[in-house]
């Protein structure tokens, strides 16, 4: 029986992704990697969780297999399944199996979105056994020392129906992220979008004010990623208020009065 596995080298980052450390997250991650402890990244949308994993993958010189979890993602999608190729039955490794075999970083983004059976699959990988059972194949894949499982999780989204069980949560080292402090966020904006000091300062000021509306009708504040988009549009010649409306205001709310108040906040800066 043939076995197909994806090319691991496809998952190696060739260029250093920009990342500006906010606290001690780099040291924490490295320590967890050395101790072979799985890592959970918590934080709001667009605050830099994925960029951080990419940065750490490059920093540790490990491949990075990222899986964007969704509600139709099954355990088979993660570990692998039999498929038909002509007259032959072929085992196709899933992305998690590929990452385990290669000894790189497996990153399950927004794990709570996936179906419940996927969390069961990762349990044996996250304790001292560090194995991945391929039940359909009757095989156990042992994770090498340099394998690391990372999951991300946005506490702001969770509800009674969609939350990680404590039996899962308590298997991970948690690194909590939030929006960067203003001075660092300005640095990030300048680096990522190329805007000048003044524009970066105004965008960060707008974000700071808009984030005050969390719990007052906004589910989440404006993310650093959206600020970078705003900066990129401004750098591309879009008028600043229009750029901010399209990136900071409209994506985060459909409430017209909320949108109007955000536009007024934008107008205080530009």
């Amino acid at each position: 029986m043939a076995v197909e596995s994806q090319r691991v080298e496809d998952y190696r980052l060739a260029k250093e992704p920009y990342y500006l450390p906010l606290h001690n997250e780099v040291e924490l991650f490295e320590a967890a990697y050395r101790a072979r402890l799985p890592v959970m990244l918590k934080g709001p949308t667009g605050c830099g969780k994925t960029r951080f994993v990419e940065h750490m993958s490059w920093r540790l010189q490990r491949t990075l297999v990222t899986v964007a979890c969704h509600e139709d993602l099954t355990a088979s999608d993660l570990v692998g399944k039999y498929t038909l190729r002509g007259d032959e039955t072929v085992w196709q490794d899933g992305p998690l199996t590929t990452a385990v075999k290669a000894g790189g970083i497996a990153y399950l983004d927004e794990i709570v979105e996936a179906r419940k059976d996927t969390t069961v699959v990762i349990h044996p990988l996250t304790d001292d056994r560090r194995i991945l059972p391929l039940e359909k194949k009757g095989e156990l894949v042992e994770a090498p020392d340099d394998f690391l499982l990372v999951i991300s999780y946005n506490p702001g989204y969770q509800s009674v129906l969609k939350d990680l069980k404590h039996s899962t949560k308590q298997r991970f080292v948690a690194i909590e992220f939030d929006y960067p402090p203003p001075d660092l966020e300005e640095e990030i904006l300048k680096s990522e979008s190329g805007v000048d000091d003044d524009t970066a300062g105004k965008l960060v000021k707008i974000a700071e004010k808009v984030r005050n509306l969390r719990t007052h009708g906004l589910e989440e504040g404006v993310s650093t990623r959206l600020l970078v988009y705003a900066g990129q549009l401004i750098q591309g010649g879009v008028e600043p208020i229009a750029a901010c409306e399209s990136t900071i205001c409209k994506p985060i709310t459909d409430d017209l009065e909320m949108q109007r108040s955000i536009v007024e906040i934008i107008a205080t800066q530009f």
């Binding site: 004010k209 509306l213 007052h216 009065e257 108040s261 007024e264 906040i265």
Partner: protein, 362 residues
């Protein structure tokens, strides 16, 4: 061949071959005879024109004269019989018994003639004439009765609808009054009553719209009265258009409302201002109107007290900006705990504003 001026219209009855068959010396006489008999009836002329050549060929003027006389006699009783007799007579003249033709003509003439005047028929005809005359005189009255029936049926339907809408209004008014601010209830009832008297269906629309206008402080009670007054004028001209007016479904209605609107109501923008001030200050802010802040601490930690209407500018945008400035001022007090503030504390901002608005009183 031409027939000359004596021929007249006779060419219409006389075919070329008929004329040719008449001896040349008799042709003028032939045409004259056909023309004379045609004066009685066209069809008689056609038949006589066919038969005369045969009689003229016999060169017996007496027979021709007798023929024409007998045809005229029968035709006087009935022209259709005359045509048939004109066709048959020449054959009867050839019979050995010369009395046959005479008897034939007598029988046909009598058979064709109407019987002597009969009094019963005359009575019936007279009665019929009178009835027909009466029926003609009645026709406009019948038509009018039909019109009245249609009009009355329409009025019945209208009254039924009116009663139905009055019932709906009876059910709708109490909950509306419960939602209406107490001080607006008396003027509200006056206006709804005016519309209900004119058209209960329109009053259902007016009841809802006036609730929103008054509760939302989009118009004063006087403005509401003016709006209703103008709507009643529209309603008097056209019910459907009037109902649309009271539903705020017509351009004119909105236009009148715009004319009557007095400034920007705080209610309309309170949430936007609350979010704006909350975002600026980082504290959850409550916006209150000066008219409802009597029991609240106007300078409480999280209150910004603003006028219920802003009328500094003619347009909403200007009035909103005025509200925004006042809200920002309040947000500053909430964030920093004081109104104490000097432009000297923010020289860079002042300089920037002076650059942006040269000549302004920064």
């Amino acid at each position: 061949m031409t027939f000359g001026p004596a021929v007249g219209n006779v060419g219409m009855y006389v075919a070329r071959e008929m004329l040719v068959s008449v001896p040349e010396g008799q042709r003028q006489a032939y045409l004259r005879m056909v023309e004379e008999i045609s004066d009685l009836k066209y069809q008689l002329g056609v038949e006589v024109a066919r038969q005369l050549p045969r009689l003229l060929a016999e060169h017996d003027p007496g027979r021709v004269e007798r023929y024409l006389h007998q045809v005229r006699a029968v035709a006087a009783a009935g022209w259709k019989s005359g045509v048939e007799v004109a066709k048959q007579l020449p054959d009867l003249y050839d019979a050995p018994d010369e009395t046959l033709a005479e008897a034939y003509v007598a029988i046909i003439t009598e058979a064709t003639d109407s019987p002597p005047e009969d009094t019963e028929t005359a009575q019936l005809a007279g009665e019929l004439d009178a009835l027909e005359r009466e029926l003609r005189e009645m026709e406009p009255k019948v038509k009018r009765a039909q019109e009245l029936r249609t009009q009355l049926a329409a009025r019945d339907r209208r009254d039924e609808k009116r009663r139905k809408h009055a019932v709906e209004l009876a059910a709708a008014l109490p909950p509306i009054l419960a939602r209406l601010r107490p001080r607006y209830r008396p003027p509200y009832l006056v206006q709804v009553r005016l519309v209900a008297a004119a058209d209960p269906e329109a009053s259902l629309e007016a009841a809802d719209t006036l609730l929103d206008l008054l509760n939302g402080e989009r118009v004063t009670p006087e403005g509401a009265a003016e709006w209703v007054d103008r709507g009643l004028e529209v309603l008097a001209r056209n019910k459907e258009v009037g109902r649309g007016y009271f539903r705020l479904g017509s351009k004119y209605s909105l236009q009148v409302l715009e004319e009557l609107k007095e400034g920007l109501a705080l209610k309309a923008v309170a949430r936007v201002l609350k979010l704006y001030a909350t975002a600026l200050s980082g504290h959850e802010v409550a916006i209150r109107g000066t008219n409802e802040a009597a029991d609240a601490d106007a300078y409480g930690a999280d209150h910004i007290v603003l006028p219920p209407e802003m009328r500094f500018f003619e347009d909403d945008a200007g009035n909103f900006t005025a509200y925004k400035v006042a809200a920002a001022h309040g947000a500053g007090r909430i964030e920093f705990g004081t109104y104490a503030f000097s432009l000297g504390d923010i020289p860079e901002t002042v300089a920037r504003l002076e650059r942006r608005y040269p000549g302004g009183a920064a």
